[in-house]
């Protein structure tokens, strides 16, 4: 097997020796890149307009996340060629980041606790007597 592997490498690095090189490289028609490029511009404009027209609340957050995930998906799938890679690599790269959701969960829990304690000890009732937790809090 090692022998076969060696020959395979040799073929991949000598484009003149075999057509192998072109099979390995990511060669795609330019058209798809221009389409995705255009789509990314449209999606960026849309997400900017969310702010420009002052859309607030859950609609704002939903739109921001949707446009963000669509842009990220297009970049990874087409520009970074994930669409054409073998599943073994796609899963190896795209699944581990899901672990970050655990970190989000821990961070949110910790933040809720911090917010609760700050309100209890540095809240409006104590503002007159207790020194402010942060300098800018006094300036508001």
């Amino acid at each position: 097997m090692a022998h076969a592997e060696g020959q395979h490498h040799a073929a991949a690095h000598h484009p003149t020796a075999a057509g192998e090189h072109h099979v390995e490289g990511q060669q795609h028609p330019l058209g798809i890149y221009f389409k995705i490029w255009g789509l990314l511009f449209v999606l960026s404009t849309l997400s900017y307009l969310v702010d420009y027209f002052h859309i607030q609340g859950y609609l704002r957050w939903t739109l921001i996340i949707v446009f963000m995930l669509m842009k990220a998906g297009l970049i990874v799938a087409v520009f970074m060629h994930m669409l054409w890679e073998r599943l073994a690599m796609v899963y190896a790269i795209l699944l581990p980041p899901l672990l970050l959701l655990v970190l989000v969960w821990i961070g949110a829990g910790e933040a809720d606790y911090t917010f609760f304690t700050r309100n209890t000890f540095f809240g409006p009732a104590q503002a007159a007597t207790a020194p402010p937790a942060h300098p800018p809090a006094a300036k508001k």
């Binding site: 490029w37 990314l40 511009f41 073994a88 933040a111």
Partner: protein
């Protein structure tokens, strides 16, 4: 060993598709990432680790923003610019976003022309990408200067919650560093291409491996990742 003698050229066995292929690739007793150059697989693994770094920053930002009792500064107003006597919200950041997306577009063109061995076009698009990247960093420097002049510091700012400054400088600073390093490497790759190092298979510094146009794609992966991170920063820091 008899099998390798029999096959000789390229892959010993046809690669299985789908989920069956995932299991076969990972248990194949060879390299797990088939049909991918070594350098590209390593770049992907580096980008995966970088994903965790940037995510840690963004999650810390979420935590301090949720935990503060002071009002969070409105990015729409903080990053507004007055153009022609009119205040346009977040306009600088929008322009930066378009500049970075354009640089991603020129990068895929460079990769494509690289595989076609079109040296001149590859270099033109690589340098165009570098110029757009440098433009982005320049605008970021302008943004930093503007905010520092207005009194934004990592420990305090005149607009609201103190954590705004630390999150801003940390996240955009780390991203800007990535863009700057990317610009330097784009120029290095462009020099290699125009000198013909990749056509002549000259090994690069720190390696004995022969040069080839796969390094343009590997460079592209890094560059698109920088764009990808900006998509998340734009959504979570500037728009939220």
């Amino acid at each position: 060993m008899t099998q390798s003698a029999a096959t000789g050229t390229g892959e010993a066995l046809p690669l299985a598709p789908g989920l069956e292929g995932v299991v076969a690739d990972w248990s194949s007793d060879q390299r797990a990432f088939k049909k991918v150059p070594w350098g590209k697989a390593m770049m992907w693994i580096f980008l995966l680790s970088d994903t965790f770094i940037f995510s840690s920053f963004l999650i810390s930002y979420m935590t301090v923003r949720m935990g503060t009792t002071a009002p969070w500064p409105n990015p729409s107003e903080v990053f507004a610019l007055t153009i022609g006597g009119q205040s346009i919200p977040l306009i600088l950041i929008a322009i930066m976003t378009f500049v970075l997306i354009s640089s991603s577009g020129t990068m895929v063109l460079a990769v494509n022309y690289g595989y076609r061995k079109d040296r001149v076009r590859t270099v033109i698009y690589l340098l165009l990408t570098a110029v757009l990247g440098a433009t982005f960093v320049g605008m970021q420097a302008f943004e930093w200067t503007k905010l520092i002049m207005e009194g934004v510091r990592p420990w305090a700012n005149p607009f609201g919650a103190a954590q705004f400054g630390s999150s801003f400088f940390m996240i955009t600073g780390f991203h800007g560093t990535h863009v700057s390093i990317g610009v330097i490497f784009l120029i290095i790759v462009a020099i290699k291409v125009i000198r013909g190092d990749l056509d002549n298979e000259k090994p690069g510094f720190m390696t004995g491996r022969k040069g080839n146009y796969e390094i343009v794609e590997t460079m592209g992966l890094y560059w698109h990742f920088v764009d990808l991170v900006w998509v998340f920063i734009f959504a979570f820091f500037y728009l939220w």
